[in-house]
Symmetry: C2
Subunit: 457 residues, 2 copies
């Protein structure tokens, strides 16, 4: 094996500059005004993949943003790994809370600051540079066939991916799926996520009077839609922070005492958790630890709320309408379809007299648990052990990658979540960043996965 | 008495054009970007008052927007009436709900549509044109001394008026105050408001984590500030829509059965009320009628709420902060200072673990009841009876004109609320308008008030 880390060290500056060029393209999929940038980001990725040594590059058209596809051919006897990631990013607002502009990446304290630095452009770009590293003059080569599948709609629910996958089952045939879009416990505590929560996301609209009213003339005699919305939202949790939607917990996977005891062994400090996000105290469902609350338990959060006068000063108005975005994280055996139906029926049923309510579902996603006894998981764990010098811990994550369940049902493939982010990377928040250490460690680790996997199957 | 209505009819078009010129100036006091327009609106009013025959015109500087002041001198033996009004207007947003732009007045169906058409530029301009009418060639003259006092900060709480009044007690010496900034029950049911609710207005901020968080990674383990705010707001009313703030009702004036029975005689249709604002049903405090809920009972309404992601599509975020504007309407014997203190203490006390709360009070105002047995009230009621052909009904209004209580305490003067608006004028809402009938009826009625008042004192 050649001295790969030396090659990485020699080219680190260029690797980072290339990533930063990509991060300068604001590929925000949720906002139509960035559509041209989304297309530019796809083109950029396709070109870099080709330069790294991929073949059969394509921009696959969908009803939405294109899928960047490419291949590497090791030979008919080699196993095939399907690498999935996404080149779109979350909206960057509130812009004013960024200490440097979200689309002008900078490196500070050995971290790249930009929207998408970690989620998921930084992690996708590790795969591009890992391919280059393996194929460069003197590189060890790649012992696996690879199919690269990078979409541009992950942050808006992968709305067109399933259609694409269904129509291209032969093209996407593989032995396992490899995704870098998750995190580790810490840079000195490598870990691999083996569980993900699902998602059910809704926008609700509460309508009272047919126009905004003067709160003096009408106040007291009409149900204020904002007050009504608050009352409805408040009623979704009881005093133990249990969710009150009837039948919500019916299918929730209950872990055994032993499983919970094993989870509790993972290194985790509640005080450090609170300190890292500036909280006086963590808070959540009674009877569960912070780690359990963010992994094995379903949740309900309001992601946004708005209505009435929000400008400067005082306006004495009763708004005609109030809105909220409300999402639930789901755990194994709950399905987004079932939970969305329960939520919609319940939310409409709790509208107080004097208002009407509509519920519009956004995208959903299914919870998954991936096996830890598979050849692929072992190949990933061994790769991390080689590069980090420590055996990674299997963990259950709180986020959702809905396509993992979809790949399982459509392609029959398991996924390995070989992610290098940290919870503190502030993905989906202002000042998202990604450690240079993590970026380079990913490029170093991925080739070991291919070698371990090819050797074992 | 000359044939005044004929003069009005001859000059109606010009009167309306002048008002519309004034309405074109967006004198929004709540938003600093309109500051220049506020000053232009003050200049416009000063010039028109002078043209109408007022003397000693002044733009009185304050720490905020200037006060337009002018006088008319009838003679040392004539009584003096202080006419108050305001030339500033409410913000016009949401602009997209206006059927014609808020600062491009148009007349449709015999109504002037523009922000401020009724509140209060249209009603102030009636006083300017009433003066012109009385003083024109052949007019009957004015039997009272008049002091005109028009401020530019009523919609932001009259923050500098009290200081001005305290410093100018001699200048403002008068026998009674006349204000046209309220409404009537209907064009064929003239009425005069004899009670106004007070106001206590607050902006609240709920802070959770020190940055926006990913709702998957953190969801379930942190108190979401939006959920917390909703829970706090929901708890401010019980299931009977009573307000739950301790001691809130302690000083509320309770009306006798007889007084309530008398109120119930005023013409009012619940069905018409519901239909006019497109509600399936009116709703409010148990045990009180719609008319009582909007007049003799205190209320609490959220006037605005915001937090988290409010753009298009789905963002899975737990916001660091959530905000609301919350106001209460007060009834006699409650004071804004007392209620603000109760609200602040209570709202902070109900913050759940995991969030911190700040409460910033905006302006307040005191509730008032004005006497119906005074010479001035009788002069106004007689004036309306002359021009409408019906005796006006005394009513208790739901809105607040905080300066009425302030004038009473600082100048010792009672106020007559000779207003010509209608509830359906959509003041503070999109598509505010003012009937041409109401505008002209005001100009016709005001001179009768001066004559009746001068004859009686």
């Amino acid at each position: 094996m050649p001295d790969q880390p030396a090659y990485l060290a020699d080219h680190q500056t260029r690797f980072l500059e290339e990533l930063m060029d990509w991060l300068r393209i604001p590929s925000v999929s949720a906002d139509p005004k960035f559509h041209g940038d989304v297309l530019r980001a796809a083109d950029f990725l396709k070109s870099r993949l080709e330069e790294a040594g991929a073949v059969n590059l394509e921009l696959c058209q969908t009803a939405g943003n294109p899928i960047v596809y490419g291949e590497y051919h090791a030979g008919p006897d080699a196993p095939t790994v399907l690498v999935y990631g996404h080149y779109d990013v979350q909206p960057a607002d509130p812009y004013e809370l960024w200490t440097s502009p979200p689309f002008e990446p900078v490196i500070k304290d050995e971290k790249i600051y930009a929207r998408g630095a970690c989620d998921d452009k930084g992690q996708v770009y590790m795969h591009v540079k890992a391919l280059e590293t393996m194929l460069r003059d003197g590189g060890a080569g790649v012992p696996c066939n690879i199919k690269f599948l990078f979409e541009g709609e992950e942050e808006v629910g992968s709305v067109n991916l399933e259609t694409f996958v269904k129509a291209n089952k032969e093209k996407l045939k593989a032995d396992v799926i490899l995704i870098s879009d998750t995190g580790m416990l810490a840079n000195d505590v490598p870990s691999i996520e083996v569980g993900l929560r699902g998602l059910s996301y809704h926008e609700v609209e509460v309508t009272g009077p047919n126009r905004d009213l003067h709160s003096g003339i009408y106040g007291g005699a009409v149900m204020n839609p904002i007050n009504a919305l608050c009352t409805m939202i408040a009623s979704l949790h009881d005093e133990n922070r249990h969710i009150t939607i009837p039948a919500f917990y019916d299918n929730v996977e209950e872990l055994s005492k032993e499983e919970r005891a094993e989870m509790a062994l993972a290194p985790f400090s509640n005080e450090e958790f609170e300190r890292s996000i500036g909280l006086p105290t963590a808070a959540g469902e009674a009877g569960f630890s912070t780690m359990e609350r963010t992994s094995i338990r379903p949740t309900l959060d309001v992601n946004g709320i708005w209505g009435g006068y929000t400008g400067e000063g005082a306006k004495t108005v009763i708004a005609s309408k109030a809105y909220a975005k409300i999402s639930m994280r789901l755990v194994p055996h709950q399905t987004s379809e079932e939970i969305s139906a329960l939520f919609q029926a319940h939310f409409i049923s709790i509208a107080p007299a004097g208002v009407t309510v509509t519920v519009k579902p956004h995208h959903g996603g299914e919870p998954v648990v991936t096996p830890t006894n598979s050849v692929a998981y072992k190949a990933a764990a061994d790769a991390m052990e080689t590069t980090f010098g420590k055996r990674p811990v299997p963990t259950r994550g709180g986020g959702s990658i809905p396509i993992v369940a979809m790949f399982k049902s459509e392609l029959g493939l398991d996924t390995v979540l070989l992610g290098f982010g940290l919870d503190s990377d502030a993905i989906h928040s202002p000042n998202e960043h990604y450690g240079v250490f993590n970026f380079m460690k990913g490029i170093e680790t991925i080739p070991h996965f291919y070698r371990n996997y090819a050797a074992a199957v």
